[in-house]
């Protein structure tokens, strides 16, 4: 905002402060020098160190120790147990499938939103609706899908009673990994809308005009101009969606109360289980495995993101 009205703000104070001005002398910023000037950064640095740095190190580090504090690789090797590897595979597929579906539908919605007034009501509703579903849903999305397609829902019962179609003929899939796909898509699409919209809105109308002037069609515009420009941003958003699904816990925890079919649920199992001793350190090893994947994915995201930035000047 207000670079424009800033002078007014400042000049309001001129009268009272002009007297002091003479004492203060010229405006050389008299910031403290040397080590002292860094003191202002310490509260934040300490806070981040204690509540982000230490927990991260502990989460990753405990995987390398036994209950008694002796160094061991057994937990980390435990990740390569076929059972655990299966869980990683389920998580991977769930994240990949929902990221692909979410990014395609989300990109379509972004396309449809092109040309909608940026300050209009429709845009406001889509923006805040997307934020709610993408960042706030969690447990409540599980409720929504139990009410929507749960065994007792209006839809399920209507299908059985009127059409004889039992969507649960093959067992209660909503409460297993396949059941997570729909709720996950439900928060992936909104996240795609939030992250991809700026890139699509950044397409310059001059490019389309140049294309039209040079005899290009709509098709050549989207294929030869828009697609290459948007590609890094699209695949970057796809990776972000993957990371989002991979690390998401609340919806799965609310739908699947028993068992550990995906990695976050397996961490829950390792954290809360009191029957199997030493499982807490297994949680550390699982956390390490998750962080490794997250770092790779987010690194790819930032590489693609910096490529996107080239066109957004």
């Amino acid at each position: 905002m207000t670079v424009a009205n800033a002078p007014a703000l400042v000049s309001g104070g001129v009268e009272t402060q002009s007297r002091r001005h003479q004492l203060a002398g010229p405006a050389a910023p008299r910031a403290p020098r040397g080590f002292v000037k860094y003191l202002g950064l310490t509260p934040f640095a300490l806070y981040v160190l204690i509540f982000l740095g230490v927990p991260t190190l502990l989460a990753v580090g405990t995987g390398f120790f036994t209950e008694d504090g002796a160094f061991t690789f057994s937990n980390v090797i435990g990740i390569f147990d076929p059972l655990v590897l299966n869980t990683f595979a389920s998580s991977f597929w769930l994240s990949a499938v929902t990221a692909v579906i979410g990014s395609i539908i989300g990109a379509l919605v972004c396309y449809a939103m092109l040309g909608v007034r940026a300050d209009g009501l429709l845009r406001s509703i889509v923006d805040s609706g997307s934020s709610v579903l993408a960042q706030f849903g969690g447990v409540m999305l599980a409720f929504a899908f139990i009410a929507f397609i749960g065994t007792q829902s209006l839809l399920t019962r209507t299908l059985i009673e009127s059409f004889g179609i039992d969507i649960y003929a093959n067992g209660p899939w909503l409460y297993q990994v396949p059941g997570l796909i729909l709720p996950y898509v439900y928060f992936q699409v909104p996240l795609m809308i939030i992250t991809f919209m700026p890139a699509l809105a950044g397409l310059k109308s001059q490019w389309a005009e140049a294309n039209a002037t040079l005899g290009g069609t709509r098709f050549t515009y989207w294929l030869r101009i828009a697609a290459p420009v948007l590609a890094p941003s699209f695949f970057g958003s796809l990776l972000l969606l993957f990371a989002n699904a991979f690390s998401s816990y609340a919806t799965a925890a609310a739908l699947i109360s028993q068992g550990s079919q995906i990695v976050p649920l397996q961490i829950r199992g390792a954290l809360v289980s009191e029957t199997v001793l030493g499982r807490e350190n297994m949680a550390g090893a699982l956390a390490l495995g998750m962080i490794v994947i997250m770092v790779v994915v987010m690194w790819g995201y930032s590489v693609l993101q910096s490529r996107t930035a080239r066109w957004q000047r």
Binding site: L41, A112, A144, M294
Partner: protein, 273 residues
């Protein structure tokens, strides 16, 4: 460029295409929410409908039955307030300081603030358990201490909201101007910088409130009670009430975020004029 030109040369979808896409996606996304609303009017498994679940909320009996849930809502709001205080007292001054005094550290600060996306809550909570055993021995086991962890969770969102405002306002020139007119750092901060950053600060606060009210992972695995863990708890005994409160929470946060959006828009309007 007028809208019709944009459609003809292909930068924008035609009206029909737009409404077909938005219509289908909109309906599909509305269905689960509508199903939740339908669910709250059901009379048990009988197949009939009743207003009872909604009216029942306002009786004295329900106030007793759902005391735990109301307590949890109180907890969540307390956590939201403390988290916003952490953002305003710890993050905001640091961001202003870095912008004014340490421009070279901007990238470092950005990197730090984005880390919580890479280290998701489910991973963080593994390491938070031992940290919290220390926190509890210092501050006691009151609910508000969870806000220390939430301050980290909201870091990426709050950072982005404040930074976009910082980038739009030339704070260096503003503060130099104020300094050259004799203002001390206190009044530079209070009378020049904060009024100019008001919208970014408000947006950061609102998004923090939204994220904290929706947080489940950390509270659940550290055995604390907040709105989301209580909702899941209640849903096992009385799913109708759980869904009603979920709808109310979704509606509340939707409006909160709608207000943020309108704030951002007002800003663009003013800078355009």
């Amino acid at each position: 460029m007028s809208a019709s030109t944009a459609v003809r040369i292909g930068t924008e979808p035609s009206k029909i295409t737009r409404w077909i896409i938005l219509g289908i996606v909109g309906v599909v996304f509305a269905l689960p929410i509508l199903a939740m609303i339908e669910f709250t009017f059901r009379d048990g498994l009988s197949g009939n409908y009743t207003l009872g679940h909604w009216t029942g909320l306002f009786t004295e009996e329900s106030a007793r039955t759902y005391r735990g849930l109301f307590q949890a809502i109180g907890n969540s709001f307390l956590l939201a307030i403390v988290t916003v205080v952490i953002v305003l007292v710890v993050l905001l001054p640091t961001m202003i300081l870095v912008q004014l005094q340490f421009p070279k550290l901007k990238r470092v600060l950005e990197f730090v603030c984005i880390i919580p996306i890479t280290v998701p809550a489910i991973v963080l909570v593994v390491g938070l358990a031992p940290v919290y055993s220390v926190v509890v021995s210092i501050f006691g086991s009151s609910v508000w201490t969870l806000a220390f962890a939430y301050g980290i969770t909201v870091l990426p969102y709050a950072y982005r909201a404040i930074q976009s405002n910082l980038d739009a306002v030339d704070v260096v020139t503003l503060s130099e101007a104020a300094r050259s007119l004799g203002a001390n750092w206190g009044s530079v901060l209070w009378r020049v910088l904060l009024p100019n950053l008001r919208r970014g600060i408000l947006a950061a606060s609102f998004i923090s409130v939204a994220v904290v009210l929706g947080e489940f992972t950390i509270a659940s695995l550290l055995n604390r009670v907040n709105l989301q863990t209580a909702l899941l708890q209640v849903s096992q005994s009385d799913p109708f009430v759980a869904v009603i409160f979920a709808l109310l929470a979704l509606g509340f946060v939707f409006i909160l975020l709608l207000v943020i959006g309108r704030l951002g828009r007002a800003r663009r309007d003013r800078s355009a004029s």
